[in-house]
């Protein structure tokens, strides 16, 4: 539930016009969640996250009431907010993005995260991990198919980051093939991911997509 919750927050932020994506970073655990395009590898995001954490801390030493920090580059803006002692959320925005809209979304997310432990929220709990797949294995095709729809929607949303504007079409065709081959349940999602990987064609990009969708499974 935690992973989905965090992913939901980041997707909400990404829906703001001009937001490329965001990353939830923990100073000890590293990247907890991200929906940034695959070119931002985990290694890069860890490096960026560490530096932003230090930068925000340096700012707070001088401005006790510091809330956000932004870095404006020629073609993009990086916006950073500290969520708790160890966690920051940073978003990469179009240079002309309306910062007020983004900070308002951040305020809402921060309010909803208040009192939650970012790391434990991120990690799927043992109970949830044990409980959630089991019913799907035993349910008939109707409920299982209904259960898989939100995951398919998320997977579809993520594909344009890898395949660009044709992604939706390719995704729908792959889902049709997957269903024809007996897919349609959560258990059979790896087969869909394999079909999509074949469509992507590039192993590095396919791996990036698998990394993005794995937390959904």
């Amino acid at each position: 539930m935690g992973v989905m919750l965090m992913a939901g927050f980041l997707d909400e932020l990404q829906s703001v016009p001009g937001v490329f994506g965001a990353c939830l970073f923990h100073s000890r655990e590293g990247v907890l969640q991200t929906n940034l395009p695959a070119i931002y590898t985990t290694e890069k995001l860890n490096e960026i996250g560490k530096t932003l954490t230090r930068l925000h801390a340096a700012g707070q030493m001088n401005f006790a009431d510091l809330t956000d920090l932004s870095i404006r580059y020629d073609e993009s803006t990086l916006l950073v907010r500290r969520l708790d002692e160890d966690g920051i959320l940073f978003a990469i925005l179009d240079a002309d993005c309306n910062l007020n809209l983004v900070t308002m979304s951040l305020n809402i997310i921060q309010q909803e995260l208040k009192g939650r432990n970012l790391v434990s929220e991120h990690a799927p709990s043992a109970a949830a991990a044990a409980a959630s797949p089991a019913p799907q294995e035993t349910l008939g095709p109707g409920p299982a198919a209904a259960d898989v729809e939100p995951i398919l929607a998320k997977m579809k949303e993520m594909l344009p980051k890898i395949l660009g504007p044709m992604a939706a079409l390719i995704f729908d065709e792959a889902v049709d093939d997957w269903r024809e081959q007996g897919g349609g349940t959560r258990k059979s999602l790896p087969a869909l991911i394999q079909l999509l990987s074949d469509e992507i064609g590039d192993e590095a990009k396919a791996q990036a997509y698998r990394s993005m969708v794995d937390p959904l499974l």
Binding site: L55, A58, F63, S70, D74
Partner: protein
Amino acid sequence: MASAKDFVNRIKTLEGVAGCLLVRDDGTMLARTHRFPDEYATLFILANQYAENIQAAAGSSYLKFLSFYRAGGNHYHVFKFQNFYLGVAQARECDQVKLLGQLDQILGAIKDGD
């Protein structure tokens, strides 16, 4: 370029500027319109260094400025140009987009040697 004092006084006349200071990239405070703490000079250098490190990691093009957003609304913006840092304290109620655009234009002209 005009003297450091003239320069900060000119920047101070922009609508929305509550105060400003000019620091050389070795940390020397050259001019300020208010009693800004000396520690700001260190922050400017450090923050720009961090921002340039991120620029390299993210593959971004050149750094324009940094902004520190404060709960009180008196945000702080830091620009680097030539061998200097310009720190600008924004007035609480002001058109931030307009102010940052003006500052970018002025500093861009200096960078271009106008």
